[in-house]
C-alpha cells in the first residue's frame, strides 16, 4: 500500500476517498502502520475483513489461502463499481493508471464525452454521436 500512500495527495485533489482492506486484524493494522517504514505514511483507513465476508462479497477472496487478490475497485458517487483490476500477486499496482482512470471517469461524468485510449487530462474527449460511428 506504500505506492498508494505516496500519491495520496493526488487522490485527495481529485476528491477521491481511499480505503485499503485486507483480511488482517485491526491489531495487525495498528502495528503495521506504526512500525513498517512504508506503512507509516498511510493516511487513510485500513479496514479489517477478518471474517472474509467483504472479500467474498467482492469476489476477490482466495479461499484456500485466506487472503485476497491484489484487487482495485473504483466506485462512483452513485455507488456503482466503474473499474476493477486484479494484479498478479507478484507485481505491485500501477497507481498512475488508477489515477488516470479516475480522471477519465470524472471527465466523462462532467462532459459526457468518450475517453480514448491513452487519454490524459488536457486531451480531448470523443463525441458519442451515432453520426460519428465509422469516422474515427
Amino acid at each position: 500500500m506504500a505506492a498508494v500512500a505516496a500519491r495520496y495527495d493526488e487522490f485527495q485533489r481529485l476528491g477521491v476517498q481511499v480505503l485499503a482492506i485486507s483480511t488482517d486484524s485491526v491489531f495487525s493494522h495498528k502495528v503495521f502502520a506504526e512500525v513498517s517504514p512504508s506503512a507509516r505514511i498511510i493516511q487513510y483507513p485500513l479496514l479489517s475483513d477478518r471474517s472474509h465476508k467483504i472479500s467474498r462479497k467482492y469476489g476477490v477472496l482466495r479461499e484456500e489461502l485466506g487472503f485476497t487478490y491484489r484487487a482495485t475497485f473504483i466506485i462512483s458517487p452513485e455507488g456503482k463499481v466503474k473499474y476493477v483490476s486484479l494484479y498478479p500477486p507478484e507485481v505491485g499496482r500501477n497507481v498512475d493508471e488508477i489515477i488516470r482512470v479516475i480522471q477519465g471517469l470524472q471527465y466523462e461524468a462532467a462532459t459526457g464525452l468518450g475517453i480514448p485510449a491513452g487519454w490524459r487530462p488536457g486531451m480531448a474527449g470523443i463525441q458519442k454521436e451515432f453520426s460519428m460511428v465509422g469516422r474515427i
Binding site: 500500500m1 498508494v4 476528491g15 477521491v16 476517498q17 481511499v18 480505503l19 485499503a20 482492506i21 485486507s22 488482517d24 485491526v26 495487525s28 493494522h29 495498528k30 502495528v31 503495521f32 502502520a33 513498517s36 506503512a39 493516511q43 487513510y44 483507513p45 485500513l46 479496514l47 479489517s48 477478518r50 471474517s51 472474509h52 465476508k53 467483504i54 472479500s55 467474498r56 462479497k57 467482492y58 469476489g59 477472496l61 479461499e63 487472503f67 485476497t68 487478490y69 491484489r70 484487487a71 482495485t72 475497485f73 473504483i74 466506485i75 458517487p77 455507488g79 456503482k80 463499481v81 466503474k82 473499474y83 476493477v84 486484479l86 500477486p89 507485481v91 488508477i98 479516475i102 470524472q106
Partner: protein, 67 residues
Amino acid sequence: MSDTKETKPALEMPPCGYPNIIVKPEEPAPDFTAEAYYRGNRVTVNLSDYKNHWVTLFFYASDFTFV
C-alpha cells in the same frame, strides 16, 4: 477410534452465502461495515458513508509483505 470410518469432508460452500464471483463494472458496489485502523484509532467504516464521493477500494493480501 478404529471402527470410525474415514470420510472425506463435504465440499464446503462459502459460509456466508455469497458466491465468490468478482464484482464487475456497472454493478452496484456491495455495501459493508468493517472495523478499521485510522490515524491511531479503532473505528467503524461503512461504505454507505461514502455515498456521493468517488471511492477507491484497494484489497491487499497482507500487512508486512514485500510488494
